[in-house]
């Protein structure tokens, strides 16, 4: 009995209320101001705290020795701080190495996907949006996590299956038969990661609904089916690497999002970040790029169409979602305490497709975990 009590006492964390239900939380208070209105990430000429700030509470409880239930309630400034259950899942620890989670959970797309909202866990104010700002992040489904080591190499494998859905003011996107597989290898100071994913994707842009309704009546049926973004296989590929020598680190990721059988052109995004750890200070520099493919799709089918105007609009629609942007950020993290970090950064954002979007952005942040 005494041993049991000690075990119970030991498994209760310092973060925790008691051994059975753990309550943890994290908060990012982020303020930003830019030199132009409508600049990247929603900031403008007036100081704003509501674009990226968030407050979250996580509650997890042990159902039995092998099973845990976890819920994460997040209130985001961009949603007027109205709280929502972003994650809710159960985890079954099949062995010390293998766990299976089911419910609503984060898709393992990027190196920082899992802890994307926990600003305290990384050196940036926010992860590089050129790569990380994808419309699909959370999955309803299953995820298998396997981790082990062989000699000095540690490895972590993840396999996720399910569906996603995301509705915003401008579009709705839905993915079925989503499969994402990722592998991460760690050797002392080196980390390598690869990810491959696919889904049956339907993207509905509200602004284009009428246009597509018209196209459906005038285009050959099989070409319309090809052109429209409805129930098409999309692919996600990513590679990442990190060298962390403690006093300094450098890391990067490159990703491709492609839907071959739809009007959308392939997006390639990458970033490189490097920083120094000098006691409580971590200065860093990050360079990020997102570019859409310049080549038009379906040129053969489009050039066979009789109307030059129609051809022009079919090419035009392909460019609507194009991105060609760069962002360079100088940042500083200061470790105020073991659960509080203060940060500041300045970014120079360049949009090669629309120079009205070029902006200089200054942000500062307080990250807190408990």
């Amino acid at each position: 009995m005494k041993k049991l009590l000690t075990i119970a006492a030991l498994t209760a964390t310092t973060f925790a209320a008691n051994a059975e239900v753990r309550i943890n939380g994290f908060a990012n208070l982020i303020g930003g101001i830019s030199n132009t209105e409508g600049s990247p990430y929603g900031y403008g000429e007036d100081l704003s705290f509501s674009e990226e700030s968030l407050f979250a509470i996580q509650i997890s409880g042990d159902i039995n020795e092998k099973m845990t239930a976890t819920g994460q309630i997040v209130a985001r400034g961009e949603d007027d701080y109205s709280p929502s259950f972003e994650w809710a899942y159960m985890t079954y620890a099949a062995t010390d190495n293998l766990s299976i989670s089911a419910g609503r959970l984060r898709l393992p797309l990027f190196r920082y996907s899992a802890s994307l909202d926990v600003g305290y866990s990384y050196h940036w104010i926010n992860a590089p949006q050129a790569a990380y700002d994808v419309p699909f992040n959370n999955l309803d489904g299953l995820r298998f996590d396997y981790s082990n080591y062989a000699g000095d190499w540690e490895y972590n494998l993840q396999l996720a299956y399910g569906t996603y859905e995301n509705t915003t003011e401008d579009y709705s996107v839905e993915g079925n038969d989503v499969v994402v597989a990722s592998a991460e290898l760690t050797y002392e100071w080196l980390k390598l990661r690869g990810v491959w994913g696919t889904s049956n994707t339907t993207l509905n842009l509200y602004a284009l609904e009428d246009t597509f309704a018209t196209l459906e009546t005038i285009l050959p049926a099989d070409f319309y089916d090809l052109y429209v973004s409805e129930d098409d296989r999309g692919y996600f590929i990513g590679l990442g690497a990190e060298v962390d020598m403690f006093d300094w680190f450098i890391s990067g990721e490159i990703t491709s999002v492609d839907t071959p059988d739809a009007f959308l052109r392939e997006d390639i995004a990458y970033y490189v970040t490097a920083g120094l750890r000098m006691g409580k200070f971590t200065p860093s520099i990050t360079y990020e790029v997102k570019e859409s493919d310049d080549d038009f799709k379906f040129t053969e089918q489009i050039s066979a169409l009789p109307s030059a105007d129609l051809q022009a609009s079919l090419y035009g629609i392909q460019t609507l979602l194009d991105d060609d942007l760069k962002n360079i950020t100088l940042g500083l993290r200061y470790d105020y305490d073991t659960n509080i970090a203060l940060k500041a950064d300045v970014s120079k954002y360049t949009d090669d497709l629309n120079e009205d979007n070029d902006a200089t952005l200054v942000r500062f942040a307080v990250n807190y975990v408990f």
Binding site: K2, K3, T6, I7, A9, L10, T11, A12, T13, T14, F15, A16, R22, N24, F26, A56, Q58, S60, T68, T70, Q72, Y89, T91, D96, S99, S101, R106, A114, S115, D117, V118, Y120, S121, Y122, D145, S147, Y149, D152, E154, F246, R277, K280, D335, T338, N339, A341, V369
Partner: protein, 142 residues
């Protein structure tokens, strides 16, 4: 070597020594006297980073930590885990908020760690080498 870098190196060494004498306690890893498992630095790292849940002899492991303000914690994190205490906290925040782990409980001082380790065959802790008593077994990391 020119005289400027030479004197810089000297100052560096002096500062380095001052730091290691003043702020770092010499820390040893302790387990229950009945624990016959073998320990490497790597194995202890894995245990304290939540990657390994068993001792080398297959028995369940229950690591206990010290509070971040303690000298023992600072030394243990930098010497054994190879990270600053803040980095260790950031590492655990990642695991906690992705449902992948629960950090070891943090105790206030060496005496509290000894009390837990002395009565629990599954526990592992670390303390200032000067605090070791007969109730626990100090292990060397090979």
């Amino acid at each position: 070597m020119n005289i400027k870098t030479f004197s810089k190196t000297l100052t560096g060494i002096a500062i380095g020594c001052a730091i290691s004498f003043t702020s770092f306690a010499e820390v040893v890893v302790i387990v229950h006297p009945s624990n016959d498992a073998s320990f490497s630095k790597k194995a202890v790292q894995r245990i304290y980073l939540g990657k390994e849940k068993k001792f080398s002899d297959g028995k369940e492991v229950l690591p206990v930590n010290q509070v971040p303000s303690s000298a023992a914690r600072e030394s243990f994190d930098s010497d054994t885990l190879g990270r600053s205490t803040t980095q260790v906290a950031a590492y655990w925040s990642k695991l906690v908020f992705t449902g992948k782990g629960i950090p070891p409980k943090e105790l206030d001082n060496d005496a509290a760690v000894i009390a837990i380790v002395a009565e629990n065959p599954n526990a592992i802790g670390y303390i200032d080498s000067a605090s070791v008593t007969g109730a626990v077994k100090a292990v060397s990391l090979n």
